[in-house]
Amino acid sequence: MDFALNKEQELFGSYVRKYLTEQGTTNIARAFINGDRQRFDQAFQGLVELGYPSINVSEDYAGMGLGLLDMVLPLEEMGRSVLPGLFLETNSFAVPLIEKYGTEKQKQKYLPAIADGSLQISVAWIEPKGSYKASSIQVSGVEKGDDFVLNGVKSLVADVELADTFLVPIRTTSSSHEEGISLFLVDKAMIKNVTQQQSIDETRKLSQIHFEDVIVNKEQLLGELNEGDNILEEGLLSFNASICAIMVGCMAAIVDMAAEYAKIREQFGQPIGRFQAIKHAIANMKVDLELSRSLSYYANWAYDTAAEDRQESIFAGRIFIHNALQKAAAANVQIHGGIGFTEELDCHLYVKRARYYEHYLGSRESYYEKAAAALGW
């Protein structure tokens, strides 16, 4: 019985924390928001040097062959810094899928490049006003010789500018049921028409991708034809285990900043942390943080060990932790008072990131359904 991360995991987490602190934590995100990618690129390179993108790439493809649990603390640190980037999409969504479903050729093409930080992947799933359900996917792929010709529009694609390749579910049959969705790896070079979309969370640059007779070779099909929906579901397991960790990191930063502010800010001749309205609000955040952290650790452990309860742990964990984060982010603004409502402090960054995660790659509602299904209810 040992429910703790091991020494190596702790150590790696502390390296990332030290590094991101040197890089200015949320200042990386602030620069990114203002259109200055340089700080982010530098931070990314540093994380590459620390080995982050190679953690869960298998050793055969120049990775470390470790698991999600080894990414938990680095992700918490990224959450603390509200770091931009495609870390979740690349390592937590795409890598496990390519490892499991990719052809040898695909593995050779993508995995070493991901591991050495030269390639990142984003997910182009949802469509304008659509949902994440398979039945909502309208972008069509029509077979033509060795290629598929793609047409339609994907929306809310994160950080097209940072991405080199996109995971794209495409309708490859005319039925609008679950069957008939196929997953393609579409390299950015094939994509011509991209329009930007403003996001409330400005640390994520969103776009619409307009597929206009985009040609993709059959070799870019990930997994079986018309089996895309099941593959996506598989990807959501690792993705959500990781999003739990990153959200825990956001909460940890919130608790720290709220507690620090409550110690130094005085009103009515007292540090506001002496007032129970403030003090207990912060204690409640802390309780939620620790529960969230335990759920996150377990979800990631359950994924890595293929535990029987991995699905319910991951999906129920995401719901609980997101809810806790959203409450904490809002309470943090309130605790800071007026200054918490400005762009000056970081409070708003967490509010916006929490909002961004609410329905990212699946609605809250869908996760209730998935968790219940996993529990056999």
Binding site: S131, Q197, L206, Q267, F341, Y356, E365
Partner: protein
């Protein structure tokens, strides 16, 4: 119990409604409500609107006729607010002047002050801001550190104010400054009517989390005022502040009526917004959350009316305003959070790319975080409710 308005009141409403239809800016009633982005044009636009109101006899309806008002009853003020909300009228750039400074000057201002300021307030010629909060004096206004020191015939003022709405547009400021150190912290504060157009006054924008700029920091570096700029007595500014509160007859009526309308807008949105081909209002979770909000927004309105009825009977408002403020600000926050959740993954699209309503929901959502802070935090309201209404003991540090 009677929710109807008298014939006279309905006539008043009709007169205002007709006037608004004829005088609102071009296209306003049909939803074309964009305000100029350029700060000078924006200021001009709002001043023009204030002037138009004034010329139509609608600039400050509660004021005495002698000053351009129409001695409106409390109910007429309520109707006025309802109608302004109904047409989403342009913001009242001179709210501080009309609802606070001028009524106070009428009560306790010098003859000179009255003639210098009151007409310019109603006409929109001079815009006022308020200089209360400071970096170290938010919930606790008695902690202000801005000082005013008499040198010859001048008061020399130094310090910093924050959360000054429309401070960047204002001509004059209703300013609290410390003129002596009293035994109790609320002694020794004096109210000045400060000229904002002077070298010692510098205004810097505060950018809110919604990216907008409504509030300002005001830096006072040897700003100058004179004895004639003092309202009430020197060192007795706290009494002036208390007198000021008594003029807030309609409380947060505007916010209550706005909430009612926002709720209706949300219902419309939830009917029109579809997910997987189905209107989201048909989802049990959305539907139930909307019913809960229906109760809260109706409750806010009804509670406001109930308190208003008490005010009408007693002649002046009680502490119940703290209830109304808490209720409406928290319900508004809840409403806009729900409005984004309803839009699913598309709810995070912002500004020109918002999925619906011109980013209305996203902007209001972000703005709503300020509502439980500004004008007295929810924590302060709860203290007030507990202490003034329920008689619980005073808080720590007070």
């Amino acid at each position: 119990m009677d929710f109807s308005f008298s014939k006279k009141e309905e006539k008043f409403r009709q007169e205002l409604r007709t006037w608004l239809e004829e005088n609102l800016p071009q296209g306003w009633l049909h939803g074309d409500r964009e305000l100029p982005e350029d700060i000078n044009e924006y200021s001009r636009f709002l001043r023009d609107w204030q002037r138009k109101l004034y010329e139509g006899g609608w600039g400050a309806i509660a004021w005495p006729k002698a000053y351009g008002g129409r001695e409106a009853s409390l109910i007429e003020e309520i109707i006025y607010q309802q109608e302004m909300v109904r047409v989403s009228a342009p913001p009242l750039v001179n709210y501080v002047g009309i609802h606070m400074v001028a009524p106070l000057l009428m009560q306790m201002g010098s003859g000179e002050q009255k003639s210098a300021y009151i007409t310019k307030i109603i006409s929109g010629e001079e815009i006022w801001c308020q200089g209360y909060s400071e970096p170290n004096a938010g919930s606790d206004l008695t902690a202000i550190q801005t000082t005013a020191v008499k040198k010859g015939d001048r008061w020399v003022i130094n310090g910093q104010k924050v959360w000054t709405s429309f401070g960047h547009l204002a001509d004059r400021c209703f300013l609290l400054a410390r003129t002596s150190k009293g035994e109790k912290k609320h002694h020794g504060i004096t109210v000045f009517l400060l000229d904002m157009h002077q070298e010692g006054v510098e205004t810097r924008p505060i950018i809110q989390m919604d990216g907008e700029h409504e509030f300002n920091e005001v830096y006072l570096n040897d700003a100058i005022a004179y004895d004639s700029d003092i309202v009430g007595e020197i060192d007795r500014g706290w009494q002036v502040m208390i007198a000021l509160l008594m003029h807030e007859r309609t409380g947060i009526g505007g916010q209550v009526f706005t909430l009612e309308q926002q709720f209706q807008d949300l219902v419309t949105m939830a009917k029109e917004w579809t997910e997987d081909g189905q209107s989201v209002i048909k989802k049990e979770s959305v539907r139930n959350a909307l019913i809960d909000l229906y109760a809260k927004s109706r409750g806010s309105l009804l509670n406001y009316y109930r308190n208003l009825t008490k005010t009408l009977k007693k002649g002046q408002p009680g502490s119940e305003g703290s209830l109304d403020k808490l209720i409406v600000s928290e319900a508004t926050q809840e409403l806009f959070a729900l409005s984004l959740s309803i839009q699913g993954p598309h709810g995070i699209l912002w500004k020109q790319d918002a999925a619906i309503g011109d980013s209305y929901w996203q902007n209001k959502y972000l703005y709503s975080f300020g509502m439980t802070i500004g004008g007295g935090t929810s924590e302060v309201q709860r203290n007030t409710i507990a202490e003034r209404i329920l008689g619980l003991p005073k808080d720590l540090g007070r």
